[in-house]
């Protein structure tokens, strides 16, 4: 408060400074709170937010993914596994020659850089707005094709049409199902 050596800010100024500070904090304590109370109250994601991945479909229900593995090649951490299979006339999954028989992303490795999205020639894989990806066991972080694939648009409306889904329309997918690694084969779609 009172300073002996430097007379520049006198006692009155010091006390005035104290009171100014007190006035400021008192005023702030009556201001509205700016906190987002997270679990109830989520901040909006940017349209370009890179969260959980989705595999898109065409409007006729065919999968976009043609099993070219460019996403796996682009992935800097190697978390994507694609095993392609040939389409046939009686079993057509995607419009191209091939489709992804197995499509897995290891979410523990993924750094959400979005390179897979950039590499994809048919815009099959996109990163959505969902970011709450915690789980209770490491197995459950291997996202399988049926977890990643968006629902059939002939049954449910497409949400990934032009770019990213709004946060309240995110298809959560069945993330609770534990699943063994690679060798389980299933047909997509």
């Amino acid at each position: 408060m009172a300073d002996d050596k430097t007379k520049k800010p006198g006692v009155v100024d010091d006390v005035a400074a104290l009171l100014t500070g007190l006035k400021t904090t008192l005023g702030e304590s009556f201001q509205p709170r700016v906190t987002w109370e997270y679990p109830e109250d989520k901040s909006p994601r940017s349209e370009r937010y890179r969260g959980r991945h989705y595999l898109r479909r065409y409007e006729n229900g065919l999968e976009r993914c043609i099993g070219c593995e460019l996403c796996a090649a682009a992935c800097p951490v190697g978390c994507i596994l694609v095993i392609a299979a040939e389409n046939s006339e009686e079993h057509r999954v995607s419009p191209g020659e091939r489709y992804a028989k197995v499509y897995e992303i290891n979410m523990l490795r993924c750094i959400f850089c979005g390179y897979c999205e950039e590499a994809c020639p048919v815009q099959a894989i996109v990163l959505g707005p969902e970011y709450e990806l915690s789980n209770v066991s490491r197995d459950q972080f291997i996202y399988t094709k049926e977890m990643l694939l968006e629902p059939d648009p002939r049954e449910e409306p497409l949400f990934v049409t032009t770019g990213k889904a709004p946060v309240d329309q995110v298809y959560i997918g069945n993330t609770q199902e534990p699943r063994a690694h690679v060798d389980t084969t299933e047909d997509g779609g």
Binding site: M1, D4, G21, L22, T24, T25, E28, Q31, R33, E37
Partner: protein, 344 residues
């Protein structure tokens, strides 16, 4: 004015055993009330600091977060009571006990107005305020011993700071109260409280008569309880946790509890000494006192939320070169005026 109830309801005071029962029950009741009050002081501090910083504070556990302190207490109680290597175990364990003991001991003489002229106290001794000054200073021993026995440089520095701070502020604190004693003519807290409102035939709280005493006491009380901006013994940014660095679990809780009981003690003392205690117009005494304690506890929190910590030399300078001379001048001037008023 009476001990708990004007007509002795159960005829207990007559014999010595009945008296002891009453005292022990009164003590247990007070400890319970104090523990609860201290917990909610912590809660209110966290909430109000949050408000100052435009955030809501704890609001998850229970309605409005009111059970947060219970959750924290359980968590702290079940933590491992860890004793670091090479500590002086006896003193290390003793220090938090001293802190809690000194914090609660002050309440043995603090009277609480309940309703009408019924008052509540454990002991109504004629040197009440002196006893409080004495036992609250013991808190510095707790900090000093805890800091020294922890065998950590941060703890030691915190302890040393507490000692230096105590010496700087205890004098000004004692001196700031001398005018009160002179005006009230008593060291008994009940007398001081009951004196204040009747001074000169008007309801005049002591703060009007001795404003300088109030200001000095306010500053010294913050220093006494080692709270921001005088929390140098703790000084998170410089000393990790000061004297608390090596304490965890229940021992940490005890220091923490002692700090907040200290806040309540000082708030109550300010209310009793300077603001007429439980006398407040037509408000029931217990509510009036609680209201005043709340106001001053909030003032503590408000100060903490506003002022940055003083540097060590600034703290010493404030204590020795500002508060102490002011306190002495205050005593002399009050004495002269008092003699003039009573004789002339």
């Amino acid at each position: 004015m009476s001990y708990l109830a004007t007509p002795d309801p159960f005829g207990l005071y007559g014999n010595s055993i009945g008296h002891w029962i009453v005292v022990v029950v009164a003590m247990l009741l007070l400890v319970f009330v104090l523990l609860t009050a201290a917990a909610y002081t912590v809660f209110w501090e966290r909430v109000y600091l949050g408000y100052i910083q435009n955030r809501p504070g704890p609001n998850r556990v229970g309605p409005f977060g009111l059970l947060q302190m219970a959750a924290d207490g359980v968590k702290l109680a079940f933590k491992e009571s860890f004793v670091p290597q090479n500590v002086d175990v006896a003193i290390y364990v003793l220090a938090p006990a001293i802190a809690v003991a000194s914090a609660f001991l002050a309440w043995s003489v603090i009277p609480i107005g309940l309703w009408g002229d019924v008052e509540y106290w454990i002991a109504n001794i004629n040197i009440g305020v002196l006893l409080i000054l004495a036992v609250t200073s013991m808190n510095a021993y707790a900090i000093l011993l805890g800091g020294w026995s922890s065998n950590s440089k941060y703890s030691l520095l915190g302890g040393l700071r507490a000692a230096a701070q105590l010496i700087s502020y205890e004098m000004a604190m004692g001196l700031s109260l001398v005018p009160i004693f002179m005006i009230a003519g008593s060291l008994r807290l009940v007398d001081i409280v009951d004196h204040a409102p009747h001074w000169g035939g008007f309801l005049v709280p002591m703060v009007i008569v001795a404003p300088l005493s109030f200001l000095i006491y306010l500053v010294a009380a913050v220093a006494e309880t080692n709270r921001a901006p005088f929390d140098l013994p703790e000084a998170e940014q410089e000393l990790v946790g000061g004297f608390l660095t090596e304490y965890s679990g229940l021992k940490f809780t005890m220091f923490y509890l002692a700090e907040y009981v200290g806040v309540l003690t000082q708030s109550t003392l300010i209310a009793l000494l300077f603001f007429g205690g439980w006398h407040l117009w037509i408000v029931p005494p217990v509510i009036a006192l609680a209201l005043k304690i709340f106001v001053f506890a909030t003032l503590y929190i408000w100060l903490r939320g506003t002022l940055p910590r003083l540097r060590y030399d600034q703290l010493m300078r404030l204590g020795w070169k500002v508060l102490l001379p002011l306190g002495i001048a205050n005593v002399i001037v009050t004495a002269i005026v008092l003699v003039g008023v009573t004789n002339g």
